[in-house]
């Protein structure tokens, strides 16, 4: 099957331009796309196939097809709560990242220049390059009872009751916001640098106050950055499982952890596959909606 798909890919360019040039292009792209086929496209196909099976086809089991796995939500209504938790995590994380990240991007674009801007930019990108898992682990040392936050609280208010945020919904949100905030700052920054002094001056000379300038000038001009940042954050967050597990403990049951369980604990691969594809369909819907939103904006301008 792999060869068939690969051959078809190789054939496509050579149809367009028969002769040596076509083969040259095919030789350049075939290794990369052959690899992607083996590592991504065929696995996704295999998982789609598994999602219609009653049981994983290992050993000498005969194949039995079923649509049951896709009705898991009907059979197990608690999955609606789990899905809602995931969506809530996605929405809250995205909203908080936008609320913190947009002003930071505007400040970076308008209040810094030259060398100091380069350094600040690098400092915002740098946390990306530390292991995401380790950053989440560090939050457990900050948020736990007797942790850094608790210690600081007791320095300020000596007699305070000990505070622990660990294993709670807010803890998951804090960890996720920390993990994804740089995305929002970067995408908003790319839009924010396009704002010119003249735009702000014009608004100001027409009598607009700061909130009005933000609402009528800054927000519309940074909207493309906000939207792409929101997608870059929302999509991985609804698929997250390591952050909710480590920071949420028992509270952290999300679609991600349920799917992980199907593959690692329960070994119900067909159900896990169906849940994964349901999530994938949701993600694709979001991409479709957002690309329409983005192209609509571009068309309007």
């Amino acid at each position: 099957m792999a060869e068939v798909i690969e051959q078809r890919r190789m054939a496509a360019p050579s149809v367009a331009r028969p002769g040596r040039a076509g083969w040259g292009i095919a030789a350049l792209v075939a290794p990369a796309y052959g690899w992607l086929t083996l590592a991504v496209f065929l696995p996704l196909g295999a998982m789609l196939f598994f999602s219609f099976l009653k049981a994983a086809p290992f050993g000498n089991r005969t194949l039995q097809y079923t649509l049951d796995n896709y009705f898991a939500f009907v059979r197990r209504p608690y999955l609606f709560d789990v899905a809602w938790t995931s969506i809530k995590l996605g929405l809250l994380t995205t909203a908080i990242c936008a609320a913190i990240g947009l002003p930071a991007a505007v400040a970076l674009a308008r209040a810094t220049h030259g060398r100091s801007r380069q350094v600040l930019f690098l400092l915002i990108v740098l946390p990306f390059w530390t292991n995401g898992l380790v950053r989440i682990f560090s939050w457990t040392m900050v948020l736990r009872e007797g942790g850094v936050l608790d210690y600081l609280l007791h320095l300020v208010i000596p007699g305070a009751a000990s505070a622990s945020l660990l294993y709670s919904f807010p803890a998951i949100i804090i960890g996720l916001v920390h993990a994804y905030l740089p995305y929002m700052i970067l995408t908003c920054y790319l839009s924010a640098v396009t704002i010119e002094d003249a735009h702000i001056e014009a608004a100001r000379s027409l009598g607009a106050r700061l909130p009005m300038i933000f609402w009528k000038v800054v927000l519309p001009l940074t909207a493309p950055g906000l939207i792409s940042g929101a997608i870059l954050i929302f999509v991985p967050v609804i698929g997250s499982f390591m952050e909710p597990r480590i920071l949420g403990g028992r509270v952290g049951v999300t679609m991600g952890t349920v799917i992980e369980d199907q593959f690692v604990q329960a070994f119900n691969w067909p159900l896990g596959a169906a849940l994964s594809f349901t999530m994938l369909a949701f993600v694709l819907l979001i991409f479709a909606a957002s690309s329409r939103l983005l192209s609509g904006r571009v068309g309007a301008q």
Partner: protein, 259 residues
């Protein structure tokens, strides 16, 4: 306004660096229960040197990252040359096909790889992780090298060819030396993606064969293992150096383009 903006930026940076600072501080803190105030010690670095599984996982991580970087850079550069320099039907489709590895949540890609590799007998382990990591890094390599190619003028190559050199000779004599900063930047990027990758490695690891992030994950779930802070601190130092090299190289790429 400017002062307000800058202090706000500093506050955001403080938030971003809080856990990283805590990690480094705890690496040098003798307390096994992460208690404050800090009792300075190198104890955990010594304990780390004794932790066989963690060190084996680190070796695996480095091995996989090197293999991923080499394979992804080679394949990605070839593909970028075709996508950036040639006109052919299906080019936009090939561009779109680069998106799934980036855009689909790793949980889905990772479990799909597990299903397929297990089913077909490719199995799990280091080779499976390399297959997966290369696929995740490839699109980024194509992107980085493609951007570098865009800023290189194609007529240099054409000039070499009109002076009688073969396309392959023109590539090695003209294009590749000018493109080298982008290629190295892409290789570093691929290395970093692989080293940081947790989700896909997690599903493709076996009890005996894991990577550093996977080993860290299982240690966290087991309980207190302060060695994690020690090894993460070492890695933080290494990746900071890599980022600085990367930034310098992309800067160099920019210079070439202005010339």
């Amino acid at each position: 306004m400017i002062v307000l903006g800058r202090s706000y930026l500093l506050a955001v940076l403080a938030f971003l660096y809080l856990p990283i600072g805590v990690m480094v501080a705890m690496a040098f803190n003798a307390s096994a229960l992460y208690t404050l105030p800090i009792d300075p010690s190198l104890h955990w670095f010594a304990v780390l040197a004794e932790n066989g599984p963690l060190l084996a996982a680190t070796r695996n991580s480095l091995l996989i990252a090197c293999a991923t970087s080499a394979a992804a850079t080679l394949l990605g550069t070839l593909a970028a040359l075709a996508l950036e320099r040639r006109q052919f039907r299906g080019r936009s489709l090939l561009r779109i096909l680069l998106l799934p590895p980036i855009a689909i949540p790793w949980l889905i890609t990772g479990t799909a790889m597990l299903v397929f590799f297990f089913w077909t007998g490719i199995g799990r382990g280091i080779h499976a992780m390399i297959i997966g990591h290369v696929a995740l890094a490839l699109p980024y390599v194509v992107l980085v090298v493609g951007t570098g190619l865009k800023s290189l003028r194609a007529d240099l190559e054409e000039a070499a060819m009109s002076l009688g050199s073969t396309p392959i000779h023109a590539f090695f004599a003209v294009t590749l030396p000018l493109l080298l900063p982008s290629v190295i930047a892409a290789a570093l990027f691929a290395f970093a993606i692989s080293l940081d990758q947790f989700v896909v490695s997690y599903f493709l690891s076996t009890p005996g064969v894991s990577t550093l992030p996977v080993e860290i994950y299982s240690s966290i779930r087991k309980g207190f293992t302060p060695e994690i802070n020690a090894i993460s601190t070492i890695f933080l130092g290494v990746s900071t150096v890599l980022v600085l090299i990367f930034a310098q190289l992309s800067h160099l790429g920019g210079k070439v383009d202005r010339r």
